[in-house]
Protein backbone atom coordinates (compact mmCIF):
# COMPACT_ATOMS: atom_id res chain seq x y z
CA UNK A 1 0.00 0.00 0.00
CA UNK A 2 3.02 2.28 -0.38
CA UNK A 3 1.48 3.66 -3.58
CA UNK A 4 -1.67 4.31 -1.58
CA UNK A 5 -1.84 7.99 -2.27
CA UNK A 6 -1.46 8.37 -6.00
CA UNK A 7 -2.14 11.84 -7.25
CA UNK A 8 -5.53 11.04 -8.76
CA UNK A 9 -6.81 9.60 -5.48
CA UNK A 10 -5.97 12.82 -3.68
CA UNK A 11 -7.62 14.80 -6.50
CA UNK A 12 -10.84 12.83 -6.10
CA UNK A 13 -10.61 13.26 -2.30
CA UNK A 14 -10.13 17.01 -2.42
CA UNK A 15 -12.41 17.65 -5.43
CA UNK A 16 -14.84 14.77 -5.69
CA UNK A 17 -16.89 14.32 -8.87
CA UNK A 18 -20.69 14.50 -8.70
CA UNK A 19 -20.65 15.47 -5.04
CA UNK A 20 -23.88 16.54 -3.36
CA UNK A 21 -27.51 15.50 -3.47
CA UNK A 22 -29.84 15.23 -6.44
CA UNK A 23 -33.10 17.08 -6.93
CA UNK A 24 -35.63 14.64 -8.34
CA UNK A 25 -33.67 11.53 -7.48
CA UNK A 26 -35.61 8.31 -8.11
CA UNK A 27 -33.53 6.28 -5.64
CA UNK A 28 -31.48 7.18 -2.59
CA UNK A 29 -29.47 5.04 -0.20
CA UNK A 30 -27.14 5.81 2.67
CA UNK A 31 -24.93 3.58 4.80
CA UNK A 32 -21.97 3.80 7.09
CA UNK A 33 -18.91 1.80 7.93
CA UNK A 34 -19.16 1.50 11.70
CA UNK A 35 -15.47 0.63 11.99
CA UNK A 36 -14.34 4.10 11.01
CA UNK A 37 -17.50 6.18 10.92
CA UNK A 38 -17.31 6.72 7.15
CA UNK A 39 -20.71 7.62 5.76
CA UNK A 40 -21.80 7.68 2.11
CA UNK A 41 -25.09 8.46 0.38
CA UNK A 42 -25.91 7.91 -3.28
CA UNK A 43 -28.75 9.61 -5.17
CA UNK A 44 -29.70 8.11 -8.54
CA UNK A 45 -31.95 9.52 -11.22
CA UNK A 46 -33.06 6.65 -13.43
CA UNK A 47 -35.12 7.23 -16.62
CA UNK A 48 -37.96 5.13 -18.02
CA UNK A 49 -35.48 2.94 -19.92
CA UNK A 50 -33.71 2.08 -16.68
CA UNK A 51 -30.64 4.17 -17.51
CA UNK A 52 -28.88 6.12 -14.74
CA UNK A 53 -29.21 9.64 -16.14
CA UNK A 54 -27.61 11.41 -13.22
CA UNK A 55 -25.95 10.55 -9.93
CA UNK A 56 -24.61 12.32 -6.84
CA UNK A 57 -22.84 11.07 -3.78
CA UNK A 58 -22.34 12.76 -0.44
CA UNK A 59 -20.81 11.90 2.88
CA UNK A 60 -17.50 11.94 4.65
CA UNK A 61 -14.67 9.57 5.18
CA UNK A 62 -11.12 8.65 4.30
CA UNK A 63 -9.42 9.32 0.97
CA UNK A 64 -9.99 5.74 -0.17
CA UNK A 65 -13.73 5.69 0.54
CA UNK A 66 -14.34 9.18 -0.87
CA UNK A 67 -12.18 8.71 -3.97
CA UNK A 68 -13.64 5.32 -4.78
CA UNK A 69 -17.18 6.71 -4.44
CA UNK A 70 -16.27 9.70 -6.60
CA UNK A 71 -14.83 7.48 -9.34
CA UNK A 72 -17.85 5.20 -9.10
CA UNK A 73 -20.21 8.07 -9.95
CA UNK A 74 -18.34 8.50 -13.24
CA UNK A 75 -18.59 4.75 -13.88
CA UNK A 76 -22.32 4.34 -13.31
CA UNK A 77 -23.55 7.44 -15.11
CA UNK A 78 -25.17 6.10 -18.29
CA UNK A 79 -25.26 2.48 -17.07
CA UNK A 80 -28.46 0.45 -16.85
CA UNK A 81 -29.61 0.30 -13.24
CA UNK A 82 -29.71 -3.52 -13.33
CA UNK A 83 -26.05 -3.57 -14.28
CA UNK A 84 -25.32 -1.20 -11.39
CA UNK A 85 -27.08 -3.57 -8.99
CA UNK A 86 -24.90 -6.45 -10.20
CA UNK A 87 -21.54 -4.63 -10.13
CA UNK A 88 -18.63 -6.56 -8.69
CA UNK A 89 -16.08 -5.05 -6.31
CA UNK A 90 -13.48 -5.54 -9.04
CA UNK A 91 -14.97 -2.45 -10.71
CA UNK A 92 -13.98 -0.36 -7.70
CA UNK A 93 -10.56 -1.95 -7.34
CA UNK A 94 -9.86 -1.30 -11.05
CA UNK A 95 -10.98 2.31 -10.60
CA UNK A 96 -8.79 2.89 -7.57
CA UNK A 97 -5.89 1.11 -9.25
CA UNK A 98 -3.81 0.47 -6.16
CA UNK A 99 -3.43 -2.43 -3.76
CA UNK A 100 -6.01 -2.34 -0.97
CA UNK A 101 -5.17 -4.14 2.26
CA UNK A 102 -7.86 -6.28 3.93
CA UNK A 103 -8.19 -3.66 6.67
CA UNK A 104 -9.07 -0.96 4.13
CA UNK A 105 -11.31 -3.07 1.87
CA UNK A 106 -14.46 -1.87 3.66
CA UNK A 107 -13.42 1.73 2.98
CA UNK A 108 -12.83 1.03 -0.71
CA UNK A 109 -16.13 -0.78 -1.23
CA UNK A 110 -18.50 1.34 0.90
CA UNK A 111 -19.55 3.49 -2.09
CA UNK A 112 -20.15 0.40 -4.19
CA UNK A 113 -22.30 -1.16 -1.49
CA UNK A 114 -24.39 2.01 -1.26
CA UNK A 115 -24.71 2.47 -5.04
CA UNK A 116 -25.81 -1.14 -5.47
CA UNK A 117 -28.38 -0.78 -2.68
CA UNK A 118 -29.75 2.38 -4.28
CA UNK A 119 -30.02 0.53 -7.62
CA UNK A 120 -31.78 -2.42 -5.96
CA UNK A 121 -34.17 0.02 -4.30
CA UNK A 122 -34.92 1.55 -7.68
CA UNK A 123 -35.64 -1.86 -9.24
CA UNK A 124 -37.79 -2.92 -6.28
CA UNK A 125 -39.90 0.18 -6.79
CA UNK A 126 -40.77 -0.77 -10.37
CA UNK A 127 -44.30 -2.03 -11.02
CA UNK A 128 -44.50 -5.84 -11.09
CA UNK A 129 -45.03 -6.17 -14.88
CA UNK A 130 -41.92 -4.12 -15.66
CA UNK A 131 -39.64 -6.31 -13.56
CA UNK A 132 -37.87 -8.84 -15.74
Amino acid sequence: MDDFYKGYILEHYREPHNFGTLEGATATFEDLNPLCGDRIRFDLKVNAEGIVEDVRFSGRGCAISQASASMLTDTIKGMHVEAVAKMDKQVVLDNVGIGISPARMKCATLGLKVARSAALGEIAGWPEEDTP
Binding site: M1, Y5, P34, C36, G37, G61, R104, C107
Partner: protein, 418 residues
Amino acid sequence: MTATVRPDAVQERILRDFPILHKPTSRGKRLVYLDSAATSQKPQAVIDALVKYYSEYNANIHRGVYEIAELATTAFEEARGKIARFINAAEDAEVIWTRNSTEAINLVSFTWGVQNLRRGDAIVTTQVEHHSNLVPWQLLAERTGAELRFIPVDAQGVHVLDDLDRLLDGAKLLALSHVSNTLGTIAPLDMLTKRAHAAGARVLVDAAQSVPHMPVDVQKLDVDFMAVSGHKMLGPTGIGFLYGKRALLEAMPPFLTGGDMIKRVEYTHTEYNELPWKFEAGTSNVADAIGLGVAVDYLRELGMDWVRAHDIALTAYALERLAELERRGLVVYGPLPAENRAGVISFNLGDVHAHDVASILDTDGVCVRAGHHCTMPLMEKMGWPATARASFYVYNTEADVDALIASLHKAADIFKLK
Protein backbone atom coordinates in the same frame (compact mmCIF):
# COMPACT_ATOMS: atom_id res chain seq x y z
CA MET B 1 12.37 21.88 22.18
CA THR B 2 13.31 19.20 24.65
CA ALA B 3 16.23 17.16 23.37
CA THR B 4 15.57 13.49 22.83
CA VAL B 5 17.01 11.62 25.75
CA ARG B 6 18.55 8.21 25.20
CA PRO B 7 16.61 5.54 27.03
CA ASP B 8 18.10 5.13 30.50
CA ALA B 9 19.13 1.77 31.98
CA VAL B 10 15.60 1.01 33.23
CA GLN B 11 14.07 1.67 29.84
CA GLU B 12 16.71 -0.38 28.05
CA ARG B 13 16.00 -3.33 30.29
CA ILE B 14 12.26 -2.96 29.72
CA LEU B 15 12.79 -2.87 25.94
CA ARG B 16 14.75 -6.12 26.12
CA ASP B 17 11.84 -7.77 27.94
CA PHE B 18 9.38 -7.35 25.04
CA PRO B 19 10.29 -9.69 22.17
CA ILE B 20 7.73 -8.25 19.73
CA LEU B 21 9.52 -4.89 19.76
CA HIS B 22 12.59 -6.54 18.22
CA LYS B 23 10.77 -8.08 15.29
CA PRO B 24 10.91 -5.75 12.27
CA THR B 25 7.75 -5.13 10.23
CA SER B 26 7.32 -6.66 6.75
CA ARG B 27 8.80 -3.45 5.34
CA GLY B 28 11.88 -3.87 7.53
CA LYS B 29 10.91 -1.03 9.90
CA ARG B 30 11.33 -1.00 13.65
CA LEU B 31 7.96 -1.62 15.31
CA VAL B 32 6.82 1.60 16.95
CA TYR B 33 3.85 0.43 18.98
CA LEU B 34 1.62 3.33 20.04
CA ASP B 35 -1.67 1.50 20.58
CA SER B 36 -1.42 0.24 24.15
CA ALA B 37 -4.81 1.73 25.03
CA ALA B 38 -6.20 -0.96 22.70
CA THR B 39 -3.98 -3.75 24.00
CA SER B 40 -0.52 -3.82 25.53
CA GLN B 41 2.43 -5.90 24.41
CA LYS B 42 3.57 -8.79 26.64
CA PRO B 43 6.89 -9.22 28.39
CA GLN B 44 8.78 -12.50 27.96
CA ALA B 45 8.03 -13.41 31.59
CA VAL B 46 4.27 -13.50 30.85
CA ILE B 47 4.76 -15.51 27.66
CA ASP B 48 7.02 -17.93 29.57
CA ALA B 49 4.42 -18.36 32.31
CA LEU B 50 1.85 -19.50 29.75
CA VAL B 51 4.28 -21.95 28.16
CA LYS B 52 5.32 -23.26 31.59
CA TYR B 53 1.72 -23.88 32.65
CA TYR B 54 0.82 -25.74 29.46
CA SER B 55 4.07 -27.69 29.28
CA GLU B 56 4.61 -28.50 32.96
CA TYR B 57 1.43 -28.48 35.09
CA ASN B 58 -1.67 -28.12 32.93
CA ALA B 59 -4.58 -29.59 34.92
CA ASN B 60 -8.10 -28.57 35.89
CA ILE B 61 -8.34 -26.67 39.14
CA HIS B 62 -10.25 -27.05 42.42
CA ARG B 63 -10.93 -30.77 41.89
CA GLY B 64 -7.88 -32.87 41.19
CA VAL B 65 -6.07 -34.48 44.10
CA TYR B 66 -2.95 -35.24 42.13
CA GLU B 67 0.21 -33.15 42.18
CA ILE B 68 -0.11 -31.05 39.00
CA ALA B 69 -3.77 -30.28 39.75
CA GLU B 70 -2.71 -28.91 43.11
CA LEU B 71 0.06 -26.92 41.47
CA ALA B 72 -2.41 -25.42 38.97
CA THR B 73 -4.95 -24.60 41.70
CA THR B 74 -2.31 -22.95 43.85
CA ALA B 75 -0.91 -20.88 40.98
CA PHE B 76 -4.42 -19.82 39.91
CA GLU B 77 -5.41 -18.71 43.41
CA GLU B 78 -2.03 -17.07 44.00
CA ALA B 79 -2.62 -14.99 40.88
CA ARG B 80 -5.92 -13.81 42.38
CA GLY B 81 -4.05 -12.80 45.53
CA LYS B 82 -1.55 -10.80 43.47
CA ILE B 83 -4.43 -8.89 41.86
CA ALA B 84 -6.05 -8.27 45.25
CA ARG B 85 -2.82 -6.80 46.66
CA PHE B 86 -2.20 -4.80 43.46
CA ILE B 87 -5.49 -2.91 43.84
CA ASN B 88 -5.49 -3.18 47.65
CA ALA B 89 -8.72 -5.18 47.93
CA ALA B 90 -9.61 -6.07 51.51
CA GLU B 91 -9.48 -9.78 50.64
CA ASP B 92 -8.73 -12.10 47.72
CA ALA B 93 -12.38 -13.22 47.54
CA GLU B 94 -13.38 -9.75 46.33
CA VAL B 95 -11.59 -10.42 43.03
CA ILE B 96 -13.71 -12.32 40.49
CA TRP B 97 -12.06 -13.55 37.31
CA THR B 98 -13.83 -12.56 34.08
CA ARG B 99 -12.81 -12.51 30.41
CA ASN B 100 -12.28 -8.75 30.43
CA SER B 101 -13.74 -5.54 31.81
CA THR B 102 -16.72 -5.79 29.45
CA GLU B 103 -17.72 -9.10 31.02
CA ALA B 104 -17.13 -7.67 34.50
CA ILE B 105 -19.49 -4.76 33.79
CA ASN B 106 -22.10 -7.08 32.30
CA LEU B 107 -21.84 -9.31 35.37
CA VAL B 108 -22.84 -6.38 37.60
CA SER B 109 -25.54 -5.22 35.22
CA PHE B 110 -27.19 -8.65 34.94
CA THR B 111 -27.01 -9.46 38.67
CA TRP B 112 -26.82 -6.44 40.97
CA GLY B 113 -28.50 -4.22 38.38
CA VAL B 114 -31.51 -6.41 37.72
CA GLN B 115 -31.89 -7.07 41.45
CA ASN B 116 -31.67 -3.45 42.60
CA LEU B 117 -33.02 -1.15 39.90
CA ARG B 118 -36.66 -0.25 39.52
CA ARG B 119 -38.74 2.13 37.46
CA GLY B 120 -38.09 5.65 38.71
CA ASP B 121 -34.46 4.91 39.68
CA ALA B 122 -31.60 6.51 37.79
CA ILE B 123 -28.32 5.18 36.41
CA VAL B 124 -25.77 7.97 36.02
CA THR B 125 -22.85 7.69 33.62
CA THR B 126 -20.81 10.19 31.57
CA GLN B 127 -20.53 11.39 27.98
CA VAL B 128 -17.02 9.92 27.50
CA GLU B 129 -17.82 6.26 28.12
CA HIS B 130 -16.51 3.40 26.03
CA HIS B 131 -19.39 1.39 24.54
CA SER B 132 -18.57 -1.32 27.12
CA ASN B 133 -19.69 1.00 29.93
CA LEU B 134 -22.69 2.38 28.08
CA VAL B 135 -24.52 -0.40 26.23
CA PRO B 136 -24.95 -2.61 29.36
CA TRP B 137 -26.62 0.34 31.15
CA GLN B 138 -28.84 1.16 28.18
CA LEU B 139 -30.03 -2.44 28.28
CA LEU B 140 -30.49 -2.39 32.05
CA ALA B 141 -32.49 0.82 31.80
CA GLU B 142 -34.66 -0.77 29.13
CA ARG B 143 -35.16 -3.91 31.18
CA THR B 144 -35.94 -2.21 34.51
CA GLY B 145 -37.53 1.06 33.42
CA ALA B 146 -34.72 3.03 35.10
CA GLU B 147 -33.60 6.35 33.65
CA LEU B 148 -30.13 6.76 32.12
CA ARG B 149 -28.45 10.15 32.80
CA PHE B 150 -25.17 11.59 31.62
CA ILE B 151 -22.57 13.78 33.30
CA PRO B 152 -21.58 16.10 30.45
CA VAL B 153 -18.03 16.88 29.34
CA ASP B 154 -16.71 20.13 27.87
CA ALA B 155 -14.87 20.62 24.57
CA GLN B 156 -11.65 19.29 26.14
CA GLY B 157 -13.47 16.20 27.39
CA VAL B 158 -13.34 17.33 31.03
CA HIS B 159 -16.32 16.44 33.24
CA VAL B 160 -18.72 19.33 33.90
CA LEU B 161 -20.02 18.92 37.43
CA ASP B 162 -22.27 21.99 37.83
CA ASP B 163 -25.41 19.90 37.69
CA LEU B 164 -24.14 16.91 39.67
CA ASP B 165 -26.64 17.14 42.54
CA ARG B 166 -29.58 17.04 40.17
CA LEU B 167 -28.04 14.20 38.15
CA LEU B 168 -27.43 12.12 41.28
CA ASP B 169 -30.88 12.76 42.73
CA GLY B 170 -32.63 9.38 42.77
CA ALA B 171 -29.59 7.61 41.36
CA LYS B 172 -28.92 4.01 42.37
CA LEU B 173 -25.71 3.69 40.38
CA LEU B 174 -22.90 5.87 39.12
CA ALA B 175 -21.02 3.95 36.40
CA LEU B 176 -18.05 5.76 34.94
CA SER B 177 -14.64 5.24 33.45
CA HIS B 178 -11.67 6.27 35.57
CA VAL B 179 -9.73 7.23 32.44
CA SER B 180 -11.21 7.95 29.00
CA ASN B 181 -9.76 5.65 26.34
CA THR B 182 -10.32 8.31 23.67
CA LEU B 183 -9.14 11.51 25.36
CA GLY B 184 -7.18 10.36 28.40
CA THR B 185 -9.42 12.41 30.72
CA ILE B 186 -9.02 11.34 34.34
CA ALA B 187 -12.30 11.43 36.25
CA PRO B 188 -12.25 13.07 39.72
CA LEU B 189 -13.13 9.70 41.18
CA ASP B 190 -12.52 10.50 44.83
CA MET B 191 -14.97 13.37 44.87
CA LEU B 192 -17.52 11.71 42.57
CA THR B 193 -17.57 8.56 44.70
CA LYS B 194 -18.20 10.60 47.86
CA ARG B 195 -20.99 12.57 46.21
CA ALA B 196 -22.57 9.43 44.73
CA HIS B 197 -22.48 7.62 48.07
CA ALA B 198 -23.98 10.66 49.80
CA ALA B 199 -26.81 10.51 47.28
CA GLY B 200 -27.33 6.81 48.03
CA ALA B 201 -25.85 5.47 44.80
CA ARG B 202 -23.33 2.66 44.32
CA VAL B 203 -20.25 3.35 42.21
CA LEU B 204 -18.92 1.13 39.42
CA VAL B 205 -15.62 2.13 37.85
CA ASP B 206 -14.47 1.01 34.43
CA ALA B 207 -10.76 0.99 35.23
CA ALA B 208 -9.57 -0.67 32.01
CA GLN B 209 -7.43 2.39 31.21
CA SER B 210 -6.36 3.35 34.74
CA VAL B 211 -5.29 0.23 36.64
CA PRO B 212 -2.62 -0.55 34.00
CA HIS B 213 -1.24 2.99 34.17
CA MET B 214 -1.44 4.44 37.69
CA PRO B 215 -1.67 3.39 41.32
CA VAL B 216 -5.28 2.47 42.14
CA ASP B 217 -6.38 1.64 45.69
CA VAL B 218 -9.98 0.44 45.79
CA GLN B 219 -10.30 0.87 49.56
CA LYS B 220 -9.00 4.41 49.49
CA LEU B 221 -11.25 5.30 46.55
CA ASP B 222 -14.10 3.43 48.29
CA VAL B 223 -15.60 2.32 44.95
CA ASP B 224 -18.16 -0.49 45.09
CA PHE B 225 -17.28 -2.27 41.85
CA MET B 226 -14.32 -2.02 39.51
CA ALA B 227 -13.84 -3.67 36.11
CA VAL B 228 -10.41 -4.32 34.61
CA SER B 229 -8.99 -6.07 31.51
CA GLY B 230 -5.75 -8.01 31.82
CA HIS B 231 -4.58 -7.62 28.24
CA LYS B 232 -4.13 -3.84 28.61
CA MET B 233 -1.77 -4.36 31.57
CA LEU B 234 0.87 -6.67 30.03
CA GLY B 235 -1.29 -9.76 30.60
CA PRO B 236 -2.78 -12.24 28.13
CA THR B 237 -6.07 -11.68 26.29
CA GLY B 238 -9.19 -13.39 27.61
CA ILE B 239 -8.59 -12.62 31.28
CA GLY B 240 -9.77 -9.71 33.39
CA PHE B 241 -11.49 -9.23 36.70
CA LEU B 242 -14.26 -7.64 38.66
CA TYR B 243 -13.55 -6.18 42.06
CA GLY B 244 -16.58 -5.89 44.33
CA LYS B 245 -17.14 -5.21 48.01
CA ARG B 246 -17.90 -8.45 49.83
CA ALA B 247 -21.27 -7.39 51.23
CA LEU B 248 -22.51 -6.49 47.74
CA LEU B 249 -21.14 -9.63 46.09
CA GLU B 250 -22.69 -11.79 48.83
CA ALA B 251 -26.12 -10.31 48.25
CA MET B 252 -25.98 -10.63 44.45
CA PRO B 253 -27.46 -13.61 42.60
CA PRO B 254 -25.01 -15.60 40.46
CA PHE B 255 -24.36 -14.60 36.84
CA LEU B 256 -23.37 -17.67 34.79
CA THR B 257 -24.30 -20.96 36.39
CA GLY B 258 -23.03 -24.53 36.20
CA GLY B 259 -20.01 -26.32 37.58
CA ASP B 260 -17.56 -24.84 40.11
CA MET B 261 -19.99 -22.14 41.26
CA ILE B 262 -21.92 -24.64 43.37
CA LYS B 263 -21.53 -26.03 46.87
CA ARG B 264 -24.25 -28.65 46.71
CA VAL B 265 -26.62 -29.59 43.90
CA GLU B 266 -29.86 -31.55 44.21
CA TYR B 267 -32.17 -32.29 41.28
CA THR B 268 -34.37 -29.30 41.97
CA HIS B 269 -32.21 -27.07 44.16
CA THR B 270 -28.67 -25.69 44.28
CA GLU B 271 -26.65 -24.15 47.05
CA TYR B 272 -24.13 -21.74 45.61
CA ASN B 273 -20.42 -21.73 46.30
CA GLU B 274 -18.71 -19.12 48.43
CA LEU B 275 -17.05 -16.02 47.06
CA PRO B 276 -15.28 -15.63 44.72
CA TRP B 277 -16.21 -18.95 43.05
CA LYS B 278 -19.94 -18.21 43.14
CA PHE B 279 -19.30 -16.05 40.07
CA GLU B 280 -16.88 -18.39 38.29
CA ALA B 281 -18.98 -21.07 36.61
CA GLY B 282 -17.23 -23.67 34.49
CA THR B 283 -13.53 -24.26 34.02
CA SER B 284 -11.74 -20.95 34.45
CA ASN B 285 -9.11 -19.45 32.19
CA VAL B 286 -6.33 -20.91 34.32
CA ALA B 287 -3.33 -20.20 32.11
CA ASP B 288 -4.20 -16.58 31.43
CA ALA B 289 -5.02 -15.85 35.07
CA ILE B 290 -1.56 -17.14 36.01
CA GLY B 291 -0.10 -15.04 33.18
CA LEU B 292 -1.87 -11.94 34.47
CA GLY B 293 -0.42 -12.61 37.92
CA VAL B 294 3.05 -12.52 36.38
CA ALA B 295 2.19 -9.29 34.53
CA VAL B 296 1.22 -7.76 37.87
CA ASP B 297 4.56 -8.91 39.35
CA TYR B 298 6.28 -7.13 36.47
CA LEU B 299 4.34 -3.88 37.05
CA ARG B 300 4.92 -3.98 40.81
CA GLU B 301 8.61 -4.35 40.22
CA LEU B 302 8.61 -1.24 38.04
CA GLY B 303 6.38 0.49 40.58
CA MET B 304 3.09 2.09 39.56
CA ASP B 305 4.40 5.53 40.53
CA TRP B 306 7.20 5.04 37.99
CA VAL B 307 4.68 3.84 35.37
CA ARG B 308 2.52 6.93 35.88
CA ALA B 309 5.52 9.28 35.84
CA HIS B 310 6.80 7.62 32.64
CA ASP B 311 3.39 8.12 30.96
CA ILE B 312 3.31 11.79 31.97
CA ALA B 313 6.87 12.46 30.80
CA LEU B 314 6.29 10.79 27.44
CA THR B 315 2.92 12.48 26.96
CA ALA B 316 4.44 15.90 27.76
CA TYR B 317 7.23 15.26 25.27
CA ALA B 318 4.74 14.10 22.61
CA LEU B 319 2.47 17.12 23.14
CA GLU B 320 5.46 19.41 22.73
CA ARG B 321 6.63 17.68 19.53
CA LEU B 322 3.08 17.54 18.12
CA ALA B 323 2.86 21.32 18.52
CA GLU B 324 5.43 21.54 15.67
CA LEU B 325 2.77 20.15 13.37
CA GLU B 326 0.11 22.71 14.34
CA ARG B 327 1.19 24.93 11.43
CA ARG B 328 0.40 21.99 9.14
CA GLY B 329 -3.10 21.64 10.56
CA LEU B 330 -2.59 19.19 13.40
CA VAL B 331 -5.15 19.47 16.22
CA VAL B 332 -4.75 17.70 19.56
CA TYR B 333 -7.89 16.83 21.57
CA GLY B 334 -8.36 16.27 25.29
CA PRO B 335 -7.29 17.91 28.53
CA LEU B 336 -3.99 19.75 29.01
CA PRO B 337 -1.31 19.71 30.36
CA ALA B 338 0.04 16.15 30.34
CA GLU B 339 -0.48 15.76 34.12
CA ASN B 340 -4.22 16.04 33.58
CA ARG B 341 -4.48 13.07 31.27
CA ALA B 342 -3.35 9.48 30.92
CA GLY B 343 -0.84 8.55 28.19
CA VAL B 344 -3.42 8.89 25.43
CA ILE B 345 -3.40 11.52 22.67
CA SER B 346 -6.19 11.80 20.11
CA PHE B 347 -5.56 14.09 17.16
CA ASN B 348 -6.36 14.95 13.56
CA LEU B 349 -4.05 16.19 10.83
CA GLY B 350 -5.61 18.90 8.65
CA ASP B 351 -8.26 17.52 6.32
CA VAL B 352 -6.61 14.10 6.26
CA HIS B 353 -8.91 11.39 7.54
CA ALA B 354 -7.57 9.52 10.57
CA HIS B 355 -7.63 6.25 8.62
CA ASP B 356 -5.36 7.70 5.98
CA VAL B 357 -3.02 9.03 8.68
CA ALA B 358 -2.88 5.59 10.30
CA SER B 359 -2.26 3.87 6.95
CA ILE B 360 0.65 6.15 6.11
CA LEU B 361 2.11 5.78 9.61
CA ASP B 362 1.79 2.01 9.24
CA THR B 363 4.17 2.08 6.27
CA ASP B 364 6.78 3.43 8.72
CA GLY B 365 6.04 0.76 11.33
CA VAL B 366 4.18 3.28 13.52
CA CYS B 367 1.01 1.69 14.97
CA VAL B 368 -1.74 4.14 15.96
CA ARG B 369 -5.49 3.70 16.26
CA ALA B 370 -7.92 5.46 13.93
CA GLY B 371 -11.67 5.69 14.15
CA HIS B 372 -14.20 6.29 16.90
CA HIS B 373 -12.37 4.24 19.58
CA CYS B 374 -15.64 2.61 20.66
CA THR B 375 -16.96 6.00 21.83
CA MET B 376 -19.39 6.84 19.00
CA PRO B 377 -21.67 9.12 21.08
CA LEU B 378 -18.66 11.20 22.21
CA MET B 379 -17.37 11.54 18.63
CA GLU B 380 -20.85 12.59 17.48
CA LYS B 381 -21.09 15.16 20.29
CA MET B 382 -17.67 16.59 19.49
CA GLY B 383 -18.38 16.58 15.75
CA TRP B 384 -15.35 14.45 14.88
CA PRO B 385 -15.96 11.82 12.19
CA ALA B 386 -12.84 10.02 13.46
CA THR B 387 -9.58 10.72 15.25
CA ALA B 388 -6.14 9.15 15.22
CA ARG B 389 -4.90 8.08 18.66
CA ALA B 390 -1.41 7.43 19.98
CA SER B 391 -1.14 5.80 23.40
CA PHE B 392 1.91 4.97 25.49
CA TYR B 393 3.07 2.36 27.94
CA VAL B 394 6.13 1.29 29.87
CA TYR B 395 8.10 0.15 26.80
CA ASN B 396 7.66 3.37 24.80
CA THR B 397 10.52 5.87 24.54
CA GLU B 398 11.08 9.35 23.18
CA ALA B 399 12.48 7.66 20.06
CA ASP B 400 8.97 6.29 19.46
CA VAL B 401 7.54 9.80 19.68
CA ASP B 402 10.21 11.02 17.26
CA ALA B 403 9.21 8.27 14.81
CA LEU B 404 5.57 9.34 15.14
CA ILE B 405 6.41 12.97 14.42
CA ALA B 406 8.60 12.13 11.41
CA SER B 407 5.87 9.94 9.96
CA LEU B 408 3.19 12.60 10.53
CA HIS B 409 5.35 15.05 8.56
CA LYS B 410 5.45 12.44 5.79
CA ALA B 411 1.65 12.16 5.85
CA ALA B 412 1.38 15.96 5.68
CA ASP B 413 3.75 15.94 2.69
CA ILE B 414 1.78 13.26 0.86
CA PHE B 415 -1.44 15.21 1.40
CA LYS B 416 0.35 18.40 0.40
CA LEU B 417 -0.36 20.22 3.66
CA LYS B 418 1.76 23.37 3.85
